[in-house]
């Protein structure tokens, strides 16, 4: 081998390696910051004390970070300024701001700032959710990744980290509401596709009392309507929907009858709208309530008289062929009898009755339903029924009383005779 050749070869080798080296140095430059940080922060025991003397871990999992959606981002892109003496010594700039997602995710941040969690933080609540509470810190994964904290299958677990914690719920006066188990067994929870955020919203999740909230009373029909539009259309035309839209706090919305987190299919016996419960609890919760019936000039007579009627009695015994409230009044689009579209409007009654009583005549539908027999009744029929009742009660008391008395004397005499 000639020296020259060797000389040439060396240069060739150097010329070949150099571009790689330059590239490597450039790459190393980007990674070096991380390496520098991770040199210390891959230590699992690394921690500091915060202002209140609480221990805070400073460990960062290298693998977790590398695989995260931010794996290509440098530490200092988020940790722009670190207010710490030890970092100041190492030449890092001291500053006042903590990690700020807004610099990239300005839209989400804007929404978040209108939501309940950010408002609670501004009020000084310690455990209100920040970005990283739901999305994670160094290990953030895109929400389409099944392992992400914000993947549809994991959102309930993410929320439940705080909202299924009894201490947390108590501390923040959330009532005793722990929707975890309820929701899991609900018809929505069972699908695996519907989760907390579908109704509550995500970044801009608002308080129950915020009129812009998806779960504010008057907005509930619209919230449910995002998946059940036909039913919401029916509901908003009915008397309940009209009153609810006007902000009547007594007017029922979807949740009044169906429940909240634990909504069940109507065929489930536990569902509040199961056919065996409609006339027992669902409608009477308001229509047999003194407060509401007074306010709206309704009476509790319909419920009471229903329970006295054949329909109501058989229904109470579990007869599901017997008419319940919804059989005659409708379900979502219940309308007052004065509304020509109402099932109980006088022009429609014959059809309504006829759906169970084939051949029901016009005369059939003319009679007064919800009769409470009373001698002081409104109509002649009520009065007659009331009188028949009274006459029969007197008759029973007199006849049975007389027979009992006669038999008692007979028994007494025979017993006395036997004793002698």
């Amino acid at each position: 081998m000639k020296w020259r050749d060797r000389d040439m070869k060396t240069w060739m080798v150097v010329g070949g390696i150099l571009p790689l080296l330059v590239l490597g140095i450039l790459a190393e430059e980007a990674w070096s910051a991380k390496v520098a940080c991770l040199d210390c922060h891959r230590d699992e025991s690394l921690s500091k004390e915060d202002a209140r003397g609480k221990k805070v871990s400073l460990f960062v999992s290298e693998a977790g970070f590398k695989n995260s959606v931010h794996g290509k981002v440098s530490c200092s892109d988020c940790h722009t300024k670190i207010t710490d003496d030890s970092h100041a010594e190492g030449g890092k700039k001291a500053a006042e701001r903590r990690v700020d997602c807004e610099s990239c995710h300005d839209k989400a941040e804007k929404e978040y700032k209108q939501g309940l969690h950010s408002k609670m933080i501004m009020k000084g609540t310690e455990r209100a959710a920040n970005c990283f509470d739901c999305h994670g810190k160094h290990n953030i994964l895109p929400s389409k990744n099944p392992r992400s904290m914000t993947h549809v299958s994991n959102i309930d677990k993410t929320c439940n980290r705080c909202h299924a914690d009894l201490e947390f719920v108590k501390e923040h006066a959330l009532g005793a509401a722990i929707p975890k188990e309820e929701f899991k067994k609900s018809v929505h929870g069972m699908t695996g596709e519907i989760t907390c955020t579908n109704c509550h919203g995500s970044h801009n999740l608002r308080s129950l009392i915020d009129p812009k909230s998806t779960i504010f009373r008057s907005n509930i029909p619209q919230t449910c309507g995002s998946c059940h539009p036909d039913i919401t259309n029916q509901f908003t035309e009915g008397i309940h929907g009209v009153l609810a839209a006007r902000g009547r706090s007594d007017a029922p919305t979807c949740t009044t009858c169906h429940g909240f987190h634990g909504i069940k299919a109507k065929v489930d016996p536990d569902s509040p709208v199961h056919e065996r419960r409609i006339a027992m609890t669902t409608c009477p919760q308001c229509h047999a309530a003194e407060r509401i019936s007074k306010e709206y000039r309704l009476t509790t007579a319909p419920v009471k008289s229903y329970y006295d009627s054949f329909h109501g009695l058989s229904y109470q015994g579990g007869d599901t062929f017997s008419a319940n409230c919804a059989s005659c009044h409708g379900v979502h689009d219940i309308r007052p009898s004065s509304d020509p579209k109402s099932m109980i409007h006088k022009d429609n009654l014959q059809k309504t009755c006829g759906s169970c009583h084939p051949g029901a005549s016009e005369n059939f539908s003319l009679g007064k339903m919800h009769v409470l027999a009373s001698i002081t009744g409104d109509e002649i029929g009520d009065k007659i029924v009331g009188w028949v009742k009274i006459i029969y009660i007197i008759l029973i008391v007199m006849v049975i009383g007389g027979l009992t008395l006669f038999n008692f004397t007979d028994w007494l005499r025979k017993t006395v005779d036997r004793a002698h």
Partner: protein, 277 residues
Amino acid sequence: MKKYLRMTLNERAQHLNLAINFTILVITGFALSFPKAFWVSPITDVPTGMTIRGFLHRLCGVATVFLGGYHILYCAFTKRGRGIIKDMIPGLKDAVDLWETLKNNLFINRPAKTLKMPRFNFREKLEYLGLIWGTLVMTVTGFILWFEVEWLKYFPKWTFDVARTIHFYEAILATLTIIVWHFYSVIFNPDIYPMSWAWITGDLTEHEMEEEHGLELERIRAEEKGKLVEFGEAAAVGGGRVIPLLHTDEEKKGSSLRRLFTTIKDFNETIKNWKGM
């Protein structure tokens, strides 16, 4: 011990039929009125229990109506039946019997008067009339409730409500009457307790006849005496036995109604004289 026929097998069958139907009617009826009562749970716990209940109630109602119809035919077309009706008509004597019994019971009559009562005493007449009344009322109102579509073609709804009210209160009245009156007569009466067996065996003892139907006992005794006189010669011819000629061929002729009459009469006669297998 001499026994006196009280109920033929036919009548006992009618009584048993009524007792079973009445009991089922009472249970299935009040199960509707008090669906939350503890004793209704066997009905309400069964799926479609209330539907079965309604069906059973109507079935037994119809059975009772048919039984009533049969009873009318029985009373019209048999000699015994006509006798029952004749003896069942209430008279002044029944009012007197009732009044005197009450006076006996309250120690107003001292010493107590011995009352001789006819084949059906005032207790039984009262109950039989009550039964007829109750069956009529329950049948009429029951059919109104059953065929509400047809009824409400011609009558206002409040008449239906009246029928419902009557059906309910009459049921209470009937049930209480059976418990208070009938069960006292045949069970809880200290002379009868633990039970009058007439509804199973069909006869009363001489003692029971004396207590409850003294007049009838006297009549029967007189009749038997008369028979002995009447059949004095025949007894000698037949070796002391009287063989009755049940019917002649002439009776079998005539209209279809007449033949039905004869059939029922024969049927009853056969049952009455049935001595077992």
